[in-house]
Amino acid sequence: MSTLLEMRGISKAFAGVKALEDINFTVRQGEIHAVVGENGAGKSTLVKVLSGVYPHGSYDGSIVYDGRERHFRDINDSEALGIIIIHQELALIPLLSIAENIFIANPPSRFGMIDRDAVYKRSQQLLAKVGLNEAPDTLVTNIGVGKQQLVEIAKALSKEVRLLILDEPTASLNESDSAALLDLLVEFRSQGMSAILISHKLNEVARVADRITVLRDGRTVDTMDCQASTIEEDRIIRKMVDRDLEHRFPKREPTIGEPVFKVENWSVYHPLHAGRQVIKNVDFQVRRGEIVGIAGLMGAGRTEFAMSLFGRSWGRRITGRALLHGREVDLSTVSRAIDAGLAYVTEDRKQLGLLLADDVRKNITLANLGSVSSGHVIDDIKEMRVASDYRNRMRIRCSDVYQASGNLSGGNQQKVVLSKWLFTDPEILILDEPTRGIDIGAKYEIYCIINELADAGKAVIMISSEMPELLGICDRICVMNEGAFVGEFDRSEATQEKIMRVIVRKGERLVDRDLQRSSAEELSGGALR
């Protein structure tokens, strides 16, 4: 196989931080080359250098593509040569249709006017190619994240693609959507397309990749050939973190006490569609020292349930009782919920979690400014101490606590959000997809922290789409579907099959677009009012 791309001696530094150091990286014609590494290892930066997001001259080293050295000034230069990147954060415009999004940059036109028929027809073909069964004039906001990801790929295919770069494409997808996407990638490979796949999900990397490059601290540690020998996940992990991770999940002897937090007859209506009951009179409880998982498909109402509890941050006409230590508590505003001892770690760190322009320190103390200040005056030394402490404890990779959180890698941003809530010292911690986009080592650390909290007598509620994670650390798993709990399993009896069966049995109507809508649209747009 001939070499399509060769990156030689690439180095890139941001003010104070060396993100890449002397990276050598090649992609052959028609291979899927996976790039793995811890959060902040430099994966996103590498592909941004390649695609011209960071223009020639802002990095050291050379890029040879298709036999010639290239100096990309911007992303248009690389796209012209068939290098198409799909970024870690989706970049679709929610209130435009699928077709308009696909052809946003250069729509087919006639006499200087957009040729709507051609847009529609070509979108249809592209959607068929990626296996997305939606009308091209559907608004993007009305489809779920999984389908949005497919639209991104269709958008990429609308251009001449020779090298497709996917930065954590499956991070927010459930297992079946992920599998579909990877199958698509394999199919494209058979048609001769090359791809760079960045992912933290090592099982899928091992499944589709021809070669795997491991980055650590901005350097290439190793490139493994998957055809020569079968690569085990453990080996990749060892290279990534430079140590052995014996277990994926830390061990813990749960000591579970009395129920601390109870929700009775909780009902929530949709904020925009008045008649739609999204959470249907559910009961829920969590005990001292217990980790309860909530499983379910996207759009099942898990996030909506959590956010409606947390200061009525989602939904309307919220009714039901919430009891803390057997006494009814007022959770009607976020600050009351925080005072009562609740914390909610959002799944959407960019929109709902972080002040991206502000530094790590300000983000960490934001929800608990009172304890770093006396009489409303902030004690900056104390604040810095607290922030540095969390930085070390959570191993947040940043140049210092004064670095803007928007400049951190995705996984490190997640750790900042988590730190913010740990600092409020909650009694009931609700985690919504806490390990999304987080590397294996950091995941393990987060599991350890969750365990510590539980051991300290706190109650943890964990919403996750990653089944193994729920099975690995939860004492009890509740399955939610269409706004109601449809099953509950104890740690000892829970298996992936059993949970899936409950989800699927109840979940046939999930193809219904209405439900998909509730996850995508309102969580980003209409969530907080």
Partner: protein, 396 residues
């Protein structure tokens, strides 16, 4: 995972430090450059004690309103009504004091309270009904312009009582009269202010250093403070050789100090910036975003009222035209001073410097005899240039 990339406290080099701080001081340097320029081309008229005093008096109301506007802009909003509100309050003050003979103290209090009420009325729609502030305050601008006309019945009302005029054209009382042309009390206050500032910065630096927080290099720090002391003392000297410190300057400095403190050191200040930075995230962190937005408008109303009083006292009459176009100067001051139109970014010092840049340019160009037409053209270009430069700096 290692912290290899982390910088240890105190290890950054001088050059690097100066570079990262250049943006912060860039604004101040531009102000000095502009002052130097006009000082030269006006043959030293700009910094004559009389002119300098006038410059302070002329711009005091803009500075006062810029403090409120900064907070409004930081929360991600805008207030177009401040000029009209200032004019309207001036009119009310005149009617109360001149027509009805109300004593100036209750009248002033009533006017400030009315300002708060106006701010509350506008902030209510913005904060709780989510009506874009641009629209609400555009409406407010029309409403209060009209009301000012109605209250004054189209005429100018004045003059005010001499005590009220002192608010704007008075000077602090001299404790040591007969010391020749200089006003020693003012000089002493200036010196005390300079020393106080140095004391605070030395203390803060020592405290930070003792806790291992990165501090600026000693040479840089000493230089900065020396310049600060020099500038403060020089300016009070100039002002003291005219008639001493104007009352309104004292009010202004006190307000600047207060707002500077609130925005940088207090929890409420931090929360205001958080609202502007990411309202949803702030709300999910337990911050009462609506109430804060509401309060910034109330605060703006009070400051607009104060500015209206100062302006009326200065002109010694209330005219229907008072306050016309003030909002533009005030908003421009904030943006020149580095505030972001997207919210979440902006500093009190920046807004004050922005206001002074505008003031110095107005004053200098008037001395040069440049017509009001080209003055506006130049001011517009400066606004655009300053913001472009800032955006460019951020991109780097």
């Amino acid at each position: 995972m290692s912290d290899k990339t982390a910088t240890l406290p105190g290890t950054r080099e001088h050059a690097g430090f100066v570079k990262t701080n250049l943006r912060e001081y860039g604004m101040l340097l531009s102000l000095f450059a502009i002052m130097l320029f006009f000082e030269l081309v006006t043959d030293g008229t700009l910094l004559r004690p009389l002119n300098l005093t006038n410059l302070v008096l002329q711009n005091s109301y803009i500075v006062i309103m810029a403090l409120g506007m900064l907070l409004v802009i930081v929360t991600g909003h805008i207030d177009l009504s401040v000029g009209s509100v200032a004019g309207f309050i001036g009119a009310i003050a005149a009617v109360l004091m001149v027509r009805y003979g109300v004593h100036f103290i209750p009248a002033t209090i009533a006017c400030l309270a009315l300002g708060a009420l106006i701010g509350a009325a506008q902030g209510y729609w913005v904060a709780y009904f989510k009506i874009p502030s641009f629209i609400v305050t555009l409406a407010g601008m029309l409403v209060f312009k009209g009301l000012a006309l109605a209250v004054l019945q189209g005429q100018s009302v004045g003059p005010f009582s001499p005590t009220f005029q002192k608010l704007s054209s008075g000077f602090i009382p001299e404790l040591f009269p007969g010391a020749g042309t200089l006003y020693p009390t003012s000089l002493l206050i200036g010196a005390a202010l300079a020393l106080g500032l140095v004391y605070i910065s030395v203390k803060t630096r020592a405290r930070r250093a003792s806790h291992g927080v990165e501090v600026e290099p000693t040479s840089f720090f000493a230089l900065k403070n020396a310049i600060l002391v020099g500038v403060v003392i020089y300016f009070t000297y100039l002002i003291a050789s005219h008639r001493g410190l104007p009352n309104v300057l004292v009010i202004m400095v006190a307000l600047i100090a207060l707002y500077g403190f609130v925005t940088t050191r207090t929890t409420i200040g931090r929360q205001i910036y958080a609202v502007g930075g990411n309202e949803k995230a702030a709300k999910l962190s337990g911050i009462k975003t609506e109430r804060l937005t509401f309060l910034t408008f109330v605060n703006m109303g009070v400051l607009a009222a104060l500015a209206g009083l100062v302006f009326a006292a200065r002109l010694n009459t209330a005219t229907p035209k008072a306050g016309l176009g003030f909002e533009l100067d005030v908003i421009a001051a904030c943006f020149i001073g580095g505030a972001s139109a997207y919210g979440g970014v902006g500093r009190v010092a920046g807004a004050v410097i922005g206001a002074l840049i505008m003031g110095v340019m107005n004053n200098g160009m008037s001395i040069l005899g440049i017509g009001i037409d080209y003055q506006q053209v130049i001011k517009g270009l400066v606004l655009l240039g300053a913001v472009c430069l800032d955006v460019y700096n951020q991109r780097r």
